[in-house]
């Protein structure tokens, strides 16, 4: 225990070095693992990015690579995979991981302001990302999602901390990074609403006259700047890519994901239903129910937690959980959507350690149970569709249950219960 304390007490710079080294070791391990194992360590999409980058180097469109369904920017980032070495992309994603940890630390410090415990609290938050086995696994397997996740955290960072004295510059940069993240992945679109709301001032209660209430809903200067910079950057980058790669870019990057009909097994609660219907029903009440439920939850989370800058990260985190849990396709790479936002809110859950362990165990156990049956299907050809569906329901249930528990125990400003001396725990 003493050793663990000493390790945690290392300077943040040392932790950054260790975090990066751990990732480099895993990249090396993955290289060796892939040579001998039937089940590769490297993410299948990493080969897709690399092939797309090879097409770019040869002067062709990255979309010549069948199943490349990302922005060309990802393929551009992967060009050194061809020129320098095939592990470059994994190292780059690991570096984004490190930047994200640094951004988390800086952001939490600024959120906590002048409090003496701000630095130590922020460090713990950053370490939770730096040493998260899932973040290490996802980036070192070559998943590109750490890039848009980093952009999202940067967007919150500029929105909530006065990096530049001129607040307009901060908001413009925030909008720019948010727009860039939406260009790369569609899901951050959901975050625009709470981020927009967090810049407003709402004093509406049952005694507020209607006219005054409506006026307070009108966008203020900061909200308009955020919306303008976000939309402008999104349109600018997207239009530039459209000019270069045409409709194929729009279809593969965006339209395909909206119309996606993936009937192969995945974590989603909708997987077996989609497989049985082949997604070909003209009026699909189950799919509509899932979409409506998702939209209602995203809206309510924005209204309840998005209107205050203090609770904005929680609103976005909870929204990311909902987006993943209700998605018609869910693979482990999607978990990074909410895991990358978790360090920003981790400090604010007033929860017993035993409860935390229980929730983590529940999440991992339901996932492992699903993986066990998925392995039986994919690698042993056993007829276990019904069992996989049962496990998908269990996993959905665990995601929802954990979200309800996190909402229940959420106390903005709790900051791990560390007192002003930075050592003890606040009395309950």
């Amino acid at each position: 225990m003493d050793r663990v304390s000493k390790f945690i007490d290392l300077s943040f710079g040392n932790h950054i070095c260790i975090g990066l080294t751990v990732r480099l070791v895993f990249i090396l391990y993955g290289n060796i693992h892939d040579r001998f194992s039937v089940v590769p360590y490297t993410d299948v999409d990493y080969k897709v990015f690399t092939d797309a980058a090879r097409h770019l180097v040869e002067g062709n469109s990255p979309y010549l690579r069948h199943t490349y369904r990302y922005s060309p920017l990802i393929a551009y980032l992967m060009i050194p995979n061809i020129i320098v070495g095939r592990e470059f992309g994994k190292i780059l994603f690991s570096v984004f991981d490190i930047f994200l940890a640094a951004a988390v630390k800086s952001l939490v410090e600024r959120q906590l302001g002048v409090a003496k415990y701000a630095s130590v609290t922020a460090k713990y938050c950053a370490l939770s990302w730096l040493y998260n086995p899932l973040s290490i696994g996802i980036s070192t397997r070559g998943n590109a999602d750490s890039f848009p996740c980093f952009l999202i955290v940067l967007s919150i960072y500029f929105l909530q901390s006065n990096v530049f004295k001129n607040s307009i510059t901060n908001i413009v940069l925030s909008g720019f990074f948010l727009g860039s993240a939406i260009h790369l992945r569609l899901y951050p679109l959901a975050f625009t609403f709470p981020m927009y709301l967090s810049l407003g001032k709402y004093k509406i209660n049952r005694n507020t006259p209607i006219k005054e209430g409506l006026v307070s809903l009108l966008p203020n200067k900061n909200q308009m700047i955020l919306a303008f910079s976000c939309v402008t950057s999104l349109l600018f980058i997207t239009y530039a890519m459209y000019l270069r790669y045409g409709y194929e870019f729009l279809f593969e990057t965006y339209i395909y994901h909206l119309l996606r009909k993936d009937t192969r097994h995945n974590f989603s609660i909708l997987f077996y239903y989609t497989y049985l219907t082949k997604d070909q029903m003209s009026f699909d009440i189950v799919k509509i129910l899932a979409q409506v439920s998702k939209c209602v939850l995203l809206f309510l989370l924005s209204l309840n937690y998005g209107c205050d800058p203090k609770t904005l990260p929680f609103a976005m985190f909870a929204q990311a959980v909902v987006l993943v849990a209700y998605n018609s396709v869910m693979t482990s790479q999607y978990f990074i959507w909410f895991l990358s936002l978790l360090p920003l809110v981790l400090k604010d859950f007033k929860m017993e350690p035993g409860k935390i362990v229980y929730l983590v165990f529940l999440w991992i156990a339901t996932q492992c149970a699903w993986l066990f049956f998925a392995y039986q299907l994919e690698f042993k050809c056993r007829q276990v569709f019904m069992l996989i569906w049962c496990q998908s329901v269990m996993f959905y249930g665990s995601n929802v249950f954990i979200l309800t528990q996190l909402i229940k125990y959420y106390r903005p400003g709790y900051a791990f219960g560390i007192n002003e001396s930075g050592k003890g725990i606040k009395e309950k």
């Binding site: 082949k278 050809c381 019904m386």
Partner: protein, 246 residues
């Protein structure tokens, strides 16, 4: 007179030599064992090929190129990108003949042919091809569907044209790519003996009779889950209004 007799004997020797050599080449004593290894949706189709096992004409095809043209039913496919990767790493030289959409289910996919090429350096050769099964549409009662994989067509190509003397009615000429590129070569279609049974790949399919129970169960789970989250939010806001709302 003496010169004529000498020339005649030389001709006979040469003729006999060509006859003996070409006979050994054109006998095509070729055996093939075709096996699917691994389990699941991702397997390796392997070929163990033996030339002239029972004759003394060892190594007569050394330096030639062997090509296997494998027909795969609609439920089985090769991933062109995976093959490209193996080609690039020089672990395999194989490519589909025609376009392959790796995402289609069996019912929407077309059968494909894959051409696998290897250099012959010995009288035995191992060749392989990574293959994948497609998802199949659900059927009443579920269970398994079966994909049958037959033996490939086998071709030989020798750059020094040593097979040109062989009878074309036994091994007809076929024009195919030389080594995967655009350059075409005249290959010889080689008869062979298959040592193994036709391959059968059994893949699980969903049970369409489950439609109602899955639909109702999924909808019910979503409604319960959504209600739980809304209730948690409601309780939390009511209890900690001062903390959440400015």
């Amino acid at each position: 007179m003496l010169t004529n007799i000498f020339s005649f004997r030389i001709c006979i020797v040469v003729f006999v030599a060509i006859k003996v050599f070409s006979a050994s080449k054109c006998d095509y004593d070729v055996k093939i064992a075709q096996i699917l290894i691994n389990d699941g949706y991702h397997r390796n189709l392997t070929y163990h090929i033996i030339f002239n096992e029972d004759s003394e004409s060892k190594g007569i095809y050394n330096g030639c190129r062997i090509g296997l043209d494998q027909y795969l039913p609609a439920g089985v496919f090769v991933n062109p990108n995976e093959l490209n990767e193996f080609n690039r790493l020089e672990r395999l030289n194989a490519f589909p003949r025609g376009r392959v959409n790796i995402e289609l289910p069996t019912e929407e996919a077309e059968p494909i042919n894959v051409f696998i090429i290897s250099e012959l350096t010995d009288d035995e050769i191992q060749m392989w091809l990574p293959v994948h099964a497609r998802y199949h549409e659900s059927v009443s009662g579920g269970g398994m569907v079966q994909y049958d994989i037959g033996p490939p067509k086998m071709y030989l190509y020798c750059a020094d044209r040593r097979l040109d003397v062989c009878d074309r009615s036994v091994s007809p000429s076929v024009t195919l790519t030389c080594n995967g590129g655009v350059k075409m070569c005249s290959w010889r279609d080689i008869p062979y003996t298959v040592l193994t049974d036709p391959l059968v790949w059994r893949v699980p399919v969903g049970n369409s009779n489950h439609f109602y129970i899955i639909g109702i169960g999924t909808a019910f789970a979503i409604m319960v889950g959504t209600t739980m989250v809304i209730r948690a939010m409601h309780d939390h806001i009511l209890k900690h209004r001062r903390l959440i709302i400015r």
